[in-house]
């Protein structure tokens, strides 16, 4: 850790939490609603700058680590930011910056207090903490920070029957799920004597790292059984977070009833975090050569994830066709894409030779899902605000187009998610398809095509709703949200056109994730040594 801004970037969850909790007391003095929108935008923008700088540093010169309170790992909480964490952190920071800035426009129409921004900043704190931490128990804490602010944001319109019901359904199952993850952490601690991810990863592979094990000793008891139970419990909570079938039931309600900027942020802040945790657990910690592979549990887990991924892709694609609420269509589209992401992850686990390229495909598809969903939610936010309804039919019967930019955003978003070149969705689906074939999962490749074909009708309905509302006398639309939509359109286009560059960066990242665990562990050993 050689410069202050790297430390600030690693500690950004703390900065965000402090900035978020500063809002309620300060709002007694400062009543202006637009001030708090600007304040939250400045904070998230500064965090985005820090995270992007850190990502560049990590990709060029290897992982960085930051330990809290001077406690050496594995005794204290330590954050290790390797390529995987850095990619997720920058995606989260970017989408949350854009959606918070969008909220400054969107939330003006509601009598919303500044509390909204407290919850939003804590949502970012939780999700950044989840992807940067190298401590399984701190992951539990950060998942709770993320989850409680997500429940709060879903029930933000607390006088609405539907949002309170959606939040109650989400919160009760979510709270039970995170408690089960706590039990999983206890299982890991009981058998490995540590909750540090790097330390567990070393011990799970039967290796010895002197600097870590000087503190935490060896492993105890039935390690294989305990690891299998722990991974089973934690996969349940993280597939719940990422909305994988059959744990997807909360997502349509939550996405539909949350304020639109929050729905746009959910794909990156909640779903992607779940996917990240699964990748971290199944590749870095219990990767190939670990105790899970020796007892054969790893293959079973990936086969289950593969089946659930196919189920999720099909269920999402089928159900998005029959929805009338535009935000529910988008929610089912997310479920379908999460399924495709899990199919790629399963391909990385099952196909031994093609692991790195399959993981690259899943990372690329996560980028597609995050950018595409954010673009569609934010564009439809402008149209919904003009039409005053979320119903697809009512949206398309508005005579005059409220915003040409928002219509263009919907079209680009649909093309991105359906997979039309030159937008990024085409390249990520192509990579997933190739990696499924390379891993010998031909059935999965066929199902990817089938789910894409089924989803066509849903996407056409979205595009039609946006197009038919554009007619004579159309305007460009309000300045702030339209600027954000243009940024996302450019992003979707750039990440597609720069396909070779993006792929080589992601290849580098996934190569180090599926490869040896040394790079991750050395990030700790260097600071200890």
């Amino acid at each position: 850790m050689d410069s202050w801004w790297l430390e600030a970037a690693a500690a950004s969850p703390l900065i965000l939490a402090a900035a978020g909790f500063a809002i309620p007391p300060l709002s007694l003095a400062i009543k202006s609603r637009s001030f708090w929108g600007a304040y939250a935008s400045v904070v998230t923008g500064a965090v985005l700058a820090l995270i992007v700088g850190m990502t560049k540093h990590v990709l060029l010169s290897g992982p960085v680590s930051y330990w809290f309170g001077g406690w050496p790992p594995p005794l204290g909480i330590v954050y290790v930011i390797d390529g995987l964490s850095a990619i997720f952190a920058s995606v989260i920071a970017m989408v949350i910056f854009l959606t918070v800035a969008y909220s400054a426009w969107y939330m003006r129409r509601f009598s919303a207090g500044p509390w909204y921004y407290t919850l939003f900043l804590l949502l970012e704190a939780g999700s950044l903490g989840c992807v940067m931490t190298s401590d399984l128990f701190n992951l539990f804490v950060m998942v709770e920070v993320l989850a409680v602010s997500a429940y709060g944001l879903v029930s933000y319109f607390r006088s609405s029957r539907r949002s309170v019901a959606a939040s109650a359904r989400y919160a009760f199952v979510g709270a039970a799920a995170t408690t089960l993850y706590f039990i999983a952490v206890v299982f890991v601690y009981g058998s490995f004597g540590t909750v540090n991810m790097a330390d567990v990863a070393v011990k799970a592979r039967g290796l010895v790292d002197q600097s870590l094990q000087a503190f935490s000793g060896g492993d105890y008891g039935e390690v294989a059984l305990a690891s299998t139970v722990a991974i089973a419990l934690s996969l349940w909570v993280f597939t719940f977070k990422s909305g994988l079938f059959p744990n997807h039931f909360w997502l349509p309600d939550a996405n539909a009833e949350a304020p639109t900027p929050v729905s746009a942020a959910f794909a990156s802040a909640v779903d992607a975090v779940g996917v990240y945790a699964v990748i971290r657990l199944l590749f870095t910690i219990f990767g190939s050569g670990s105790v899970l592979e020796r007892v054969g549990a790893r293959t079973v887990i990936f086969a289950v994830l593969f089946a659930l991924g196919i189920g999720s892709a099909l269920v999402g694609a089928l159900l998005m066709n029959i929805q009338r609420d535009v935000k529910r269509v988008l929610a089912y589209s997310t479920i379908s894409h999460v399924g495709i992401i899990y199919m790629a992850i399963a391909a990385a686990g099952l196909g031994a030779g093609a692991a790195a390229s399959a993981l690259t495909a899943s990372l690329y598809h996560i980028l597609t899902n995050v950018v595409g969903e954010a673009l569609l939610f934010l564009s439809f936010g402008v149209l919904i605000a003009a039409a005053g309804s979320r119903d697809l039919d009512k949206l398309s019967s508005v005579g005059r187009a409220p915003s040409l930019v928002a219509t263009a955003g919907v079209i680009v978003g649909v093309l991105t998610l359906f997979g039309i070149p030159p937008f990024m969705g085409f390249f990520s689906k192509l990579l997933v398809f190739i990696s499924l074939l390379d891993s010998g999962l031909v059935f999965g490749a066929v199902m990817l095509l089938v789910s894409t074909a089924i989803s066509l009708m849903g996407y056409v309905k979205l595009a039609r709703a946006a197009l038919s509302s554009s007619g004579e006398g159309s305007r460009l639309g309000p300045a702030l949200p339209c600027t954000i939509i243009v940024v996302l359109i450019v992003l979707s286009f750039a990440l597609g056109v720069l396909f070779p560059e993006v792929k080589s960066v992601l290849d580098h990242v996934s190569g180090s994730v599926v490869g040896s665990v040394n790079e991750y562990v050395n990030a700790l050993s260097e600071v200890i040594g």
């Binding site: 128990f137 539990f140 804490v141 709770e144 409680v148 429940y151 709060g152 029930s155 607390r158 006088s159 609405s160 029957r161 539907r162 309170v164 019901a165 959606a166 939040s167 109650a168 359904r169 919160a171 009760f172 199952v173 709270a175 039970a176 995170t178 408690t179 089960l180 706590f182 039990i183 952490v185 206890v186 601690y189 009981g190 909750v195 309600d253």
Partner: protein, 131 residues
């Protein structure tokens, strides 16, 4: 470990797992939100008790109970530290449980306030399927 201790720890572990199962049943299948909340607190308390049990070491003998992880004999030097390490319970799960209890408190308060709002908007605390 004597036979008595083995059966004792089996009883403790079995009751913890039975508690978890009952709590999960309550969270998922009771339509009443207050009953769900009660099951939720049972679940998190069970998880906390489980963590404490994991940290409660195999004690030296049935007559001699383990000691708290605090060094009372300061002038004892290295030998005293060694004796403490052999006899004391593991402090780490206790630190975890302390954190988890605080988080559980926050989550419980949130769930209780959601139930309150549910009651205000729906006039009932029974969960209806259609929302």
């Amino acid at each position: 470990m004597s036979e008595f201790e083995a059966s004792l720890s089996l009883i403790v572990l079995f009751s913890l797992f039975a508690n978890t199962a009952i709590a999960l049943y309550g969270v998922f299948s009771k339509p009443n939100l207050v009953k769900k909340l009660i099951s939720m607190t049972i679940l998190s308390d069970t998880a906390n008790a489980f963590a404490i049990v994991i940290g409660y070491r195999a004690w030296p003998s049935p007559e001699e109970s383990p000691v708290p992880p605090v060094l009372t004999n300061i002038s004892g030097g290295y030998a005293a530290v060694q004796e403490l390490v052999q006899k004391s319970v593991d402090p780490f799960p206790q630190a975890l449980v302390l954190t988890a209890v605080v988080i559980g408190l926050a989550v419980t308060i949130f769930l209780a306030s959601i139930i309150l709002h549910y009651h205000r908007t729906h006039g009932t605390v029974e969960m209806v399927v259609s929302g």
